[in-house]
């Protein structure tokens, strides 16, 4: 027979301060855990959500990111003549030879940032239709002008509309802001590819982005690039290219966050144990009475475990509430594959919140187990006598 929940609730009401402190003690580690987990969640959402399956990113063979890659002008010109490449209405091949430069630039928080500047052109914009201009205009080819992601403009000094930043051989003026719907270009500043290359004395592109009409044709193009030894190029479908940059479980910040949450969770569990032992001590007589009117040992065990679990879940929910204001907050960390900053939003998905509650429940059960066992194991006679 189960001991009614009302019994536990009444007790919690009788000692609200102790219950609240225990719950709050469990809430903090839960919040820490949620924030740690929200980090890779947001980061990888950017990387897994970027890329059009019809686009192929062409790099130098052996490279897996644009930062490491170099594509000479001749192969780039050759790609433009291949039959697999889609043509635009004016019969021009739909592709974009691009270069990327990682530039040191001060962030608004005073730290040094690694800004990813992409040299691109009309093709690059056409191939990324989700990138929309929201203010100002696009950069003019041949002029030292930048159109930057609005998110980047907010995070870096001198990158607001109309401001100037020096790198390469020019002072670059920000003439427009774009929005890339939270995808990878939202961490980038765009400029004219030829001017950027001459500023950095580059003779090679970093990559060529190519539109193909269908998966079959794309596979054919990949094979052609792979077979042609003279070109020494490799093509990745754009979504795969970004997916390969997914930051794994080795992410240092995630590791720190998990480490902290688990140790804090142990501390909070100890707090719960203390509270539950006190509860058991206060209720020695009641437990004996419950037992003598027929409640089984396991009912007593379950009742105390449920009480501990209830307090922990309350703390877990509070922890979720404390973490929620961070949902959507933009932050950035280095993308270890490109060494550029990657801006992303903290994301608290329902699955994540469930994990947080699960963590809190585990803390509660872990903390409540020993006291509950003690309560269940006492003999009725001894408890009665003890009073």
């Amino acid at each position: 027979m189960r001991i009614p929940l009302a019994y536990n609730l009444r007790h919690l009401r009788a000692r609200p301060a102790a219950a609240a402190m225990t719950a709050l003690g469990i809430a903090l580690p839960t919040t820490t855990l949620l924030l740690a987990l929200a980090l890779p969640e947001g980061l990888n959402r950017v990387l897994q959500g970027t890329g059009d399956p019809d686009n192929l990113v062409v790099l130098r063979k052996g490279s897996t990111t644009e930062t490491n890659s170099a594509v000479d002008r001749d192969p780039a010109r050759l790609i433009a003549t291949l039959p697999e490449v889609v043509k635009d209405p004016e019969e021009r091949p739909l592709l974009a030879p691009e270069t990327i430069v990682i530039v040191f630039a001060p962030r608004r928080n005073g730290l040094q940032g690694n800004l990813l500047v992409r040299g691109t052109g009309e093709g690059g914009r056409a191939l990324r239709s989700y990138v929309r201009l929201v203010e100002g205009r696009w950069f003019t080819p041949g002029l030292p002008e930048l159109t930057v992601s609005r998110r980047i403009a907010e995070r870096y000094q001198n990158l607001g509309l109309g401001e100037r930043i020096h790198f390469g051989k020019h002072d670059w003026t920000v003439v427009g802001l774009f929005d890339a719907q939270g995808k990878a270009p939202d961490s980038e500043a765009w400029a004219d590819v030829d001017l950027l290359m001459s500023d950095f004395l580059r003779t090679t592109y970093s990559s060529v982005l190519v539109r193909t009409p269908s998966p079959d044709v794309q596979a054919r193009l990949q094979e052609r690039l792979d077979q042609d030894k003279r070109l020494s190029l490799v093509g990745f479908p754009e979504p795969e290219y970004y997916r390969r940059q997914t930051q794994g479980p080795g992410l240092p910040l995630l590791f720190i966050g998990m480490f902290v949450s688990v140790l804090l969770g142990v501390g909070a569990a100890v707090g719960a144990t203390n509270t539950m032992y006190a509860a058991v001590a206060q209720r020695t007589r009641e437990i004996a009475v419950l037992r003598s009117i027929g409640f089984r040992r396991r009912s007593v065990l379950a009742s105390f475990l449920i009480e501990s679990l209830g307090v922990a879940l309350l703390g877990g929910m509070l922890g979720c509430l404390l973490a929620l204001p961070f949902h959507g907050a933009v932050t950035s960390t280095v993308n270890w594959k490109t060494f550029g900053d990657l801006a992303f939003q903290f994301r608290l998905t329902p699955a994540l919140l469930a994990k947080g509650l699960g963590f809190a429940a585990a803390v509660g059960l872990f903390g409540g187990f020993l006291p509950a066992r003690l309560a269940a194991s006492r003999s009725i006679a001894a408890s009665m006598r003890a009073i």
Partner: protein, 378 residues
């Protein structure tokens, strides 16, 4: 002091609770000390002469190499003692996840600037004699199980070259997690590669003392202003820090975590002390009825809280100090993990503060309540 036995007796009355509370504070203090040490070691990488060692890199981007000619130009500037280039090669071994630091070095001058990289003399000679030779740090060698005489093939990611190297030596040093090989080998192999020959990544040099750091840095950067290889010169420490900061505002993160830990600690300890105070209400009233001044009764209770917290804090501080004195938990990331005195002290201080706060409010409650009421309640 004469009350110490009383305080201890009270402490041991509920051994389980005192023990658990001390344990919670122990875990939390350990966390605070370990995290702050991690941050400290990140910001102050170990090096015997890092204060006088400067590094020049391209002013715009780490991705941009510097012209090789810069090395000799810097070498001839006044105030500079020794100079050597160091180029990040950025290769992995077998699998992309086998990531480690690998550099091309100018073998003749490398040890002038990095004397702390200790390689036995015969291994050094063997390395210098073999154009395809390399030598690796002891920790790295242990990680991949490399031995002197092994042949290893790296996969280059930045340059189209997969170096085939012979391990000629194993070095010891503050950071023994690098692989180093001849710059000449790469230059030779990439002779025809666009944009590579004649470039170096970074240039390292020594100055005589701390007073030379600022003027010499300025002199180097001025020498290359308006060239196509403008430099940014900084101390080794600042250079390393810029990598750490790429991850995010670590200091803010650690600060927030420490706050969360302290608050959790306070809640756990505060709750335990509140429970103790409830049980002790009648006794405190009796003491006061006997004529003990309220301040002393409160003080007795407060000392108990501070003592429990202090024991937990002391253990939580000692553990990382002893545990990591000679071994780092993650040698690749932290060559050493020694806890600085200041951080150890702050750990104990934080625990004591938590004890005082946690005991303070219940102590105040014990003292404030009228004696008659407290006795009646009991």
């Amino acid at each position: 002091m004469k009350y110490l036995p009383l305080i201890l007796r009270n402490l041991l009355r509920n051994k389980r609770r005192s023990g658990l509370t001390a344990f919670a504070i122990f875990v939390s203090t350990f966390l605070v000390v370990a995290l702050q040490t991690a941050l400290y070691q990140f910001e102050n990488p170990p090096s015997e002469q890092s204060r006088f060692r400067l590094v020049a890199r391209h002013a715009t981007s780490l991705q941009n190499p510097l012209p090789e000619a810069h090395v000799d130009k810097i070498r001839n500037l006044p105030g500079i003692l020794k100079t050597t280039p160091l180029t990040w090669f950025g290769a992995y071994w077998k699998d992309e996840d086998n990531w480690f630091a690998n550099f091309e070095i100018e073998s003749d001058t490398f040890w002038d600037v990095f004397p702390e990289v200790r390689l036995p003399e015969e291994e050094r000679r063997a390395f210098l004699a073999d154009p395809q030779g390399c030598f690796v740090g002891r920790d790295l060698a242990a990680k991949f199980d490399w031995k002197v005489g092994d042949r290893i093939v790296l996969t280059g990611q930045i340059y189209p070259l997969n170096p085939e190297l012979n391990v000629r030596g194993i070095y010891d040093g503050p950071d023994s997690t690098w692989l180093l090989f001849h710059r000449k080998y790469v230059e030779e192999a990439l002779k025809t590669s666009a944009g590579r020959p004649g470039r170096v990544g970074t240039i390292w040099f020594l100055v005589a003392g701390p007073e030379d750091v600022a003027p010499v840095s300025a002199r180097v950067d001025a020498a290359f202003r308006n060239s196509n290889g403008e430099t940014k010169t900084e101390t080794e420490k600042a250079f390393q820090l810029s990598f750490v900061e790429m991850m995010g505002d670590l200091r803010a993160i650690v600060r927030n975590i420490v706050a969360a830990v302290a608050l959790t600690m306070l809640l756990v300890a505060g709750n335990a002390m509140a429970m103790a105070a409830r049980e002790r209400a009648a006794e405190a009233a009796v003491l006061r009825a006997l004529g003990f001044p309220p301040a002393r009764v409160g003080f007795l209770f407060l000392s108990e809280a501070v003592l429990v917290a202090g024991i937990g804090g002391l253990l939580g501080t000692l553990l990382p100090v002893l545990l990591f004195f000679n071994s780092s938990p993650e040698p690749i990331m932290f060559p050493t993990f020694r806890v600085p005195t200041g951080i150890a002290a702050s750990g104990i201080l934080l625990a004591l503060l938590v004890g005082a706060l946690a005991g303070g409010l219940p102590a105040w409650g014990l003292v404030r309540r009228p004696i008659a009421q407290a006795l009646r309640r009991a």
